[in-house]
Symmetry: C2
């Protein structure tokens, strides 16, 4: 750590004369410190070590399971070891759905297996499964237009593709079918449903993901519903084009167990002058059970913890408190996000700004904000500091990450350090979410951006509220 | 078909004056016909239609199964429909090994599942599996050096990587561990074995493939052995680096069933002047059970059938007979290849030359031969005809495809139309061997090269023998 301080100090000395003219809103020392943090981040191995440790020593960590509890223990250990203050778990209750057997096959006319995975919250079939003729829909809208009860005994197949984009904007559209198909199929009288995976790859990995949010007293309802990998959806489409009648068997035996416990892991760098004012850096600790949660969201955990650790290494802490929140139970319906907003309702007024890293490990290329007009000069100045990392200006309609939803709705200003997600939905919610998919240099660029952002937001006196 | 004839005829007229000077070994009309065949192939959709049909309507087709029998029926239908002569199945017996449950997990210290698949011919564990501490070896050579009985109760892990190459030369080296690990582990007293997949990708797909050849009266022996996907092998390596003791459970329940039937599907274009002289074009019809056998070897089936069909469309057949052989039971140990060599032993002297397409659907970039010195001017002239397709000169030590092994050993000359296999072992023997991985333009280039080669080899009077 002393080496790090020396590096930061020398950066400060070197950069101060150069930066005075560029960052009029920040005193020269502040700008130099931000530059020094970025330089240090690009050489820092901590983020890679953290995501390696989390994805190797814990791996899959579905909300409410023993694996997720182990991930909380891991996080508390790491955060304490790194010297953070007020390290704690803030527990909450969570419904517990666990995967069972899952398989599907074309029975007629061309018998062969199909690669499927149950959607999170899906109801179960009998152990022998359900079988029926397949009725295909090219979109969720087409499915919604079908009349009640018109598909008795059938298996619905929604073959709507997802558009690949750098900013992930294809997801919001595509996820509709994942959320709604089970219930629409039930309305139509179907015995089961298949969707083309919400994803952009063409590998034989089905993508899981939550349907409707589970309730504590029961499941999400709907018919048993699974995702097909993209090559399997293509295959089923081709088979349907070659035969009048195509029957499929679907076996899904997930279970809804009694409600379990989850928790958010919180750690702080108490502010030097305004400790009650909180700059929040979030990520989520839970991950789907199919992969090892390296990209979603081990990378985010690593990025925000490594960035905050750089701030801890400064000669003195920033003015405001920097709070790292590693949310639990994000994937199953933002359960940790809701718990945090409820448990901290009284202090949300003093959450001055928040950011979440939950879009993998691609490079950040855009800085979005959702702040008051009077704060725009400050966020523009922050963006100027981030510019050497390849980060350009964005909009003032940031949504922040998913775990910031309730905070944003409660008036907490948010920013979006927007990552390049071109490849993100190739891996998202699949078994292929593994450590090898993370590019170390891109991960370090993320740490650099978060470190500078958190430092500057915590150092200034700006009120970011609308 | 009449349109095709018109295209070929016009190509012949157009190209004849240009090619007279370039191909002194071939009469101008022959060279022009070869050029016309290549031009027609690049515009021909048949190969893509065939591989689409085979991989969609049949899909997986493991040797000896009902799926492989359906593939033979499919092939006979297609070949008859396309107008080939002497279309027939030449049956033979084959051992029948079928996959069962397969899963593995790290029990301690970091519990999590591992993605595995049984190697072809593996023995089975109990339904509850075997468990033991893992002992890792960085290579097969290191495993072979371990003393007899030194790993009682352990699980062997051979973590030898495979080198990615354009010519597939990494495979011959890497496949050694797949063939030998089960028996070496047995010698050491281990209860099970894991290998890093023989493959070059970093996706969560384990690669299957045959161990030792199965005998008709029993299995291949050895301990139960599975392949780990590359990310899982990396994960297990990391876990071993972080813990003194790592225990794994392995469940594999494949079954060795009573011997079954397979067959080679044969079709011909009888020669115009020397029908007893055979130019053989091969591929294999069987495919591993995990994927749909699009790349391995649906592509090869499509390439040789589509190429031969172009020859059928010529105004008159070539001098020699062109024989298409779609081998059965290649993957489980060249059983069809052996049966063919035995059943045709009396006429192998009259197999003038043979080629097999069994390396995916990448572009052909090199023309290897294994012919007598006196035939080299002819093969050089054939290579010159193929040059516009981007095909360069190779060696005179071709091995031909795997199904040509016994023919080559019996003295049949072979050529290698060598494909770019840079990505081939990303998919090879995995669930991800699906139609979307085939690039139609590259497939057509293959058809063009086979069409020209088959035509020229069947038209000339050259004796290719050593």
């Amino acid at each position: 750590m002393s080496h790090l301080i020396a590096v930061l100090a020398s950066c400060l000395l070197l950069l101060a004369p150069l930066t005075r003219a560029e960052g009029p809103l920040f005193p020269p020392g502040v700008r130099a410190t931000a530059d020094g943090l970025m330089a240090a981040a690009l050489d820092d191995a901590l983020a890679l070590e953290l995501v390696t440790s989390l994805s190797t020593e814990i791996g899959p960590r579905l909300a409410g399971t023993a694996q997720e509890a182990r991930a909380r223990d891991w996080a508390v250990d790491q955060l304490k070891k790194l010297g953070f203050s007020n390290v704690r778990v803030e527990p909450f209750a969570v419904p517990l759905w666990v995967r069972g057997d899952e398989r599907a096959e074309i029975l007629e006319p061309f018998p062969q297996p199909l690669a499927v995975t149950a959607l999170g919250g899906s109801t179960a079939t009998d152990p022998e499964g359900v079988a029926g003729d397949v009725v295909a829909f090219s979109s969720l809208a087409a499915l919604e237009a079908a009349p009640d009860g018109s598909l008795a005994g059938r298996i619905v197949f929604v073959d709507e593709p997802m558009t690949r984009t750098q900013d992930g904007s294809g997801y919001g559209v595509a996820v509709g079918k994942r959320r709604a198909t089970a219930y629409e199929a039930e309305r139509l009288g179907a015995v089961g449903a298949l969707i083309r995976s919400v994803g952009t790859d063409s590998h034989r990995f089905p993508h899981t993901g939550q349907m409707r949010r589970l309730t504590e007293d029961g499941g999400a309802g709907g018919v048993p519903t699974a995702a097909l990998s993209a090559p399997d959806a293509d295959q089923l489409r081709r088979v349907l084009a070659r035969a009048d009648q195509v029957s499929v068997r679907l076996v899904l035996t997930p279970q809804l167990l009694p409600p379990s416990r989850s928790g958010n892991v919180v750690a702080e760098i108490p502010g030097r002058e305004a400790p009650e004012e909180v700059v929040l850096a979030g990520a989520h600790l839970d991950a789907w059970d199919l992969g090892t949660g390296a990209v979603d969201d081990g990378a985010g955990v690593a990025i925000v913890v490594a960035a905050a650790r750089l701030l801890k290494a400064l000669p003195e802490p920033p003015r405001r408190t920097v709070r790292v929140v590693l949310f639990g139970a994000e994937e199953v319906g933002l359960v940790g996000a809701k718990a945090y907003a409820e448990q901290h309702a009284a202090e949300l007024e003093q959450h001055v700004i928040a950011a979440e890293s939950d879009f993998g490990a691609g490079r950040i290329w855009r800085f979005d904000t959702a702040v008051g007009q009077s704060a725009l000069p400050t966020t523009a100045a922050i963006r100027a500091v981030l510019h050497p990392l390849g980060i350009g200006p964005g909009s003032n309609s940031a949504r922040g990450g998913p775990d910031l939803t309730y905070l944003r709705e409660a008036g907490v200003p948010v920013v979006g350090l927007i990552q390049n997600g071109w490849d993100y939905f190739d891996l998202h919610h699949t078994p292929d979410d593994t450590l090898d998919k993370i590019e170390p240099a891109a991960l370090a660029q993320n740490v650099a951006a978060y470190a500078a952002f958190l430092y500057l937001a915590a150092e200034v006196e700006t009120d970011f509220r609308k």
